[in-house]
Symmetry: C2
Subunit: 359 residues, 2 copies
């Protein structure tokens, strides 16, 4: 079984398929999406390569593709200009042309790096996102944001470039380490918080089975999340309005990631703390009930995610990171709040407002 | 006086202004196009910087922009990943944000490099093209093609990214060295050859005054060329069909550039030879009259451009370069021919066909 979500983006419209073990259908799905067989590249990282590259190669070969595997070291450090240059070299050596497909097999790092390489190789070759982490499946694979890091800032260099297809095989989540699995749930909870109140109820009911990685439930949760993201991105591809609501929990989250040193908190963990802070600010500035704030916090806790910074945490670095936020204008930050579970709004808040919510 | 061409590209539609000494109006024109004043960058090369950067800075400052000048060495070698990285560094150091405008002041190299940097900095910041060479004014500034080179291939890395505005000051052509001026005329003649027969007659009549750089005539010729390019690009932004006709003379031209070593022939010179070869092939395969082929060749000669490779020229390198052409499929090349002056068509030609036309 497989669920398909249509991402409506005019000429860049495409499908996102979600299902268990659909990795083996990747070649067929790519052909059905109109992609040309022949030379192609599978960009992945060393960890995912060991687990799934051979299966993906087989799946592509049986549909007439001739893949080369390009593997990068796992981790955020691979989102660099130096690694990008290596990708270009290997794509050139593999003889890729304008119709050659790049398959991004892995998590957010692989998706961002391979996506940006595809966006810029020969002024753009087709990219298929094959996400293998919860974060990538429910969030980063969809929406066309691609990027690499600059030593001064994360995702400083990038492009909006839509994939031709997304194939999210939830069976690959079985091999995900526990911490990576749980961080992804922060993004899932986020969709419920900002746009789908019944989803929060369902997550409360199903969380134990989800944590046990029940494939049918994973398929349901990933598809529901992607459906929400597709609706938002379809309405606002370049983040000029509605898409900003997806930043719920992310303003504080990004500042935590940056100030704690990238890597000490996983992205989803920082977002979890950020969502709790945003819920508190929502109660103060948007009439969000304290009961609902507690309810959201309990769900986040049950998912095994942090809800506050440790004591002794030094706030000057955090403030500096917040001051560099891309969404800042003249001392204030455009902040996503909730007025009730399932409904968001934005307010301009000062640094002091925000600091009071996290310390 | 100033002529304005509207480039129709849906949401990416924008104006191209052509006139003498409109450099001094750059700030006003940018504001009128809706661009936000404040921090911005002028990307240029050392040669153009000396001639025009101060004037452009003044023009921007008096409209509320706060420009930093980022200068690169002149020449094709600046279209590198290393130079791009320096641009990112300097754009970051200048504190540019998502609304900050990049002004590309110079020829094709500056336009391509600054355009690609703008396309990828913070996933895209606004770019204004301010071309100062004939090639850039009549061709490369319009159409959104941006790129840098890879050691294996020219323009291997790039993006389609439309400018917000083009400001072509024909008075800047007065300082252009003679050889650079003449190479630009190859692209001008091309528009006449493929889509505007009366333009060929006008060029025959006005060529001496154009070579003397009469500003009124330059304005006319640049505007007419841009109007043609705008029509083609507006109908086919991503070069899936009609836009390929702009490659008239370029298939052979690119192979000449690559096989002779970049720099031995200027782009326009190689295109001039390529057009004469294409005219010969047109007579053989598309019923183009020998008289019209001679007429086109005479005009190219009068513009001071080469029409054939020197004797003793070694053709194996040329063949190899042609075999790497992006437009190849299975041993044949999609080639733009003329059936009469002012009207083009495409035919699939073999290597042998093409070789016979240039040797």
């Amino acid at each position: 079984m497989m669920r398909t979500i249509r991402v409506q983006l005019g000429a860049a419209s495409h499908d996102a398929h979600v299902g268990a073990n659909i990795l083996d259908e990747l070649g067929n799905l790519a052909r059905a999406a109109g992609l040309k067989p022949g030379s192609c590249a599978i960009v992945t990282d060393a960890t995912v390569e060991k687990l799934y590259a051979a299966r993906v190669e087989d799946a592509l070969r049986k549909s007439g593709f001739a893949p080369v595997v390009i593997s990068v070291p796992p981790g955020e450090a691979s989102k660099s200009l130096a690694m990008l240059e290596q990708l270009y070299d290997r794509m050139t050596a593999a003889g890729l042309d304008r119709n050659s497909v790049v398959f991004a097999l892995g998590g957010g790092v692989v998706g961002d790096l391979a996506g940006f390489a595809a966006a810029t190789f020969l002024r753009g070759v087709p990219i298929v996102q094959v996400p293998t982490t919860v974060v990538a499946q429910v969030d980063s694979a969809l929406g066309g944001k691609t990027a690499i890091n600059h030593r001064h800032a994360k995702n400083l260099i990038g492009a909006f470039y839509q994939p031709q297809l997304i194939v999210a095989d939830v069976a690959t989540l079985a091999t995900l380490p526990d911490r990576e699995f749980r961080e992804g749930l922060a993004e899932v909870i986020k969709y419920g918080a900002i746009m789908d109140a019944p989803m929060i109820g369902d997550l409360e009911r199903d969380l134990d089975a989800i944590l046990a990685r029940n494939p049918a439930l994973l398929e349901q949760v990933v598809a529901r999340s992607l459906m929400h993201k597709a609706a938002v991105v379809g309405a606002d591809e370049h983040e000029s309005g509605l898409r900003k609501t997806l930043n719920f929990g992310h303003t504080v989250g990004h500042a935590i990631e940056a100030s704690a040193g990238y890597g000490s908190y996983f992205h989803g963990e920082a977002v979890a703390i950020g969502m709790v802070a945003a819920a508190r600010l929502s109660s103060k500035y948007a009439g969000f009930s304290a009961d609902e704030a507690s309810r959201l916090q309990r769900l986040i806790e049950r998912a095994g995610l942090p809800t506050a910074m440790p004591s002794g945490w030094y706030s000057d670095d955090f403030l500096r990171a917040l001051a560099l936020d891309k969404k800042r204008t003249a001392g204030a930050i455009e902040f996503v709040l909730l007025d009730r579970i399932g409904h968001s709004l934005t307010r301009s808040l000062s640094f002091d407002d925000i600091m009071s919510s996290v310390s």
